[in-house]
Subunit: 229 residues, 2 copies
DNA sequence: GAGTGGTCTAGACCACGTT
DNA sequence: ACGTGGTCTAGACCACTCT
């Protein structure tokens, strides 16, 4: 009889998926539901809040709660460090630094990260291997104005990804997935053919409005990013 | 003085990002924090629960709460219906059915969806256009054993995506992103060159263990999927 | 066994947005 | 103006898991 918020959530979810509560339809208010399930309003509230968060229902003060017309589905991807991703597949991880140099930020990067004109950046090119085979090509730019200590890091044995995670604990980010054709350079590093399609991730990272880093990661052909939802 | 759960959450987040609370470090327990912020334990609990949900901290009964070593970052992508995605860019949406036929499920599909041997499926090929330009090529397979009503739907004017959403309100899904090379067929439908790299989404959908549908969506060259987190 | 987070309650007040 | 969800409280009991 005494329902937990999980019970309430599951039951309401069932009513929606079975069609008993039609899309667009109004759902009883929290007080009524609390009576129905024999629990406190706060319990109903938590269940409903999570359902709203998951995109199944839409809540508005005074207007009440409605079943979403087209349930807004969303998937969550964890953004792993390359090393963890590789080791999770039971492959031996190896990291290699290809090049490292300091230069003024090129215009396209300044535009992308909204950097001032005189910005100096650290440009790194690295490779990540799984069991000796090329896994990911990493093209990384780090803003030295905000992170001058990056200049002293060698990045010989540890990738910039891991270094940044332990140095800049948290930040805002924009991530974008796309597909790109392997040019001669990429094909060589990834041991693939020119013209292969490469899954590509680009990420820009900020800390309190200050641009930290931009990275383009090109994965070996056939790479997939998968999740359930 | 009286802190809301948002205040608490923001403050704790700041303590983590500033490094005041180091990765791996133990966080005060809920009672102490409640006293610190002058609020009820439930308020602290909600703040901490959300932070845990977002992957910044790790909580275990009796062991207490710790700042995550490598903050487990995760991004959320909404999975829109193609029509909405196109219209959100202020383009005029157009849908076209290329082909539609019923056949026994091919072996690769049976393996992927775990279908029994005699399964009949509806195979649809459709195009989605934005302002008249090809936007997405859709290769869709629907399990007729579970959804026999799909046989009577014409799919002339409405895409299978939208039809499914309104027919099967909710389901489990596995989604996977990758890159593919445009073959002659794809190049023709998407008005692009053979060899172009196409961002590709594959999705398998189940309803209570029963396979509903599999779809492969190939986007026009240059397509990006972007989110902030 | 004991300390921690996980959850529920009954009540209260507030914020928002529809009417 | 008023009904709805949003949030907070003070207290309670429970479930897990570390020692």
């Amino acid at each position: 009889m005494k329902a937990t918020f999980r019970d309430v959530k599951a039951d309401i979810m069932a009513k929606i998926t079975s069609g008993e509560w039609a899309p667009g339809g109004l759902v009883p208010n929290e007080m009524e539901l609390a009576e129905t399930y024999g629990c406190a309003r706060a319990t109903v509230n938590r269940a409903m809040r999570e359902l709203a968060d998951e995109g199944l229902i839409e809540r508005r003060r005074k207007a009440g709660t409605r079943v979403r017309m087209a349930p807004l589905r969303q998937a969550r991807f964890s953004i792993p460090i390359v090393r963890d991703e590789i080791e999770a597949q039971n492959l031996t991880y190896r990291y290699g630094l290809v090049s490292r140099n300091i230069c003024p930020a090129p215009n396209w990067l300044r535009a992308r990260l909204n950097l001032p004109e005189s910005s100096q950046v650290l440009h790194l090119i690295c490779m990540h291997y799984g069991d000796g085979a090329p896994y990911q090509f990493e093209d990384r730019w780090i803003n030295l104005t905000v992170l001058p200590q990056a200049e002293t890091a060698a990045f010989q044995d540890i990738g910039p990804n891991e270094w940044l995670v332990s140095t800049v604990p948290f930040s805002d980010a924009e991530i974008s997935f796309s597909a790109a054709v392997a040019d001669e350079n990429l094909a060589e590093y990834l041991s693939c053919k020119r013209g292969d399609a490469l899954f590509t991730v680009e990420r820009s990272t900020w800390q309190e409005g200050e641009a930290i880093t931009f990275v383009r990661q090109s994965f070996r052909p056939g790479h997939r990013m998968t999740t359930r939802y």
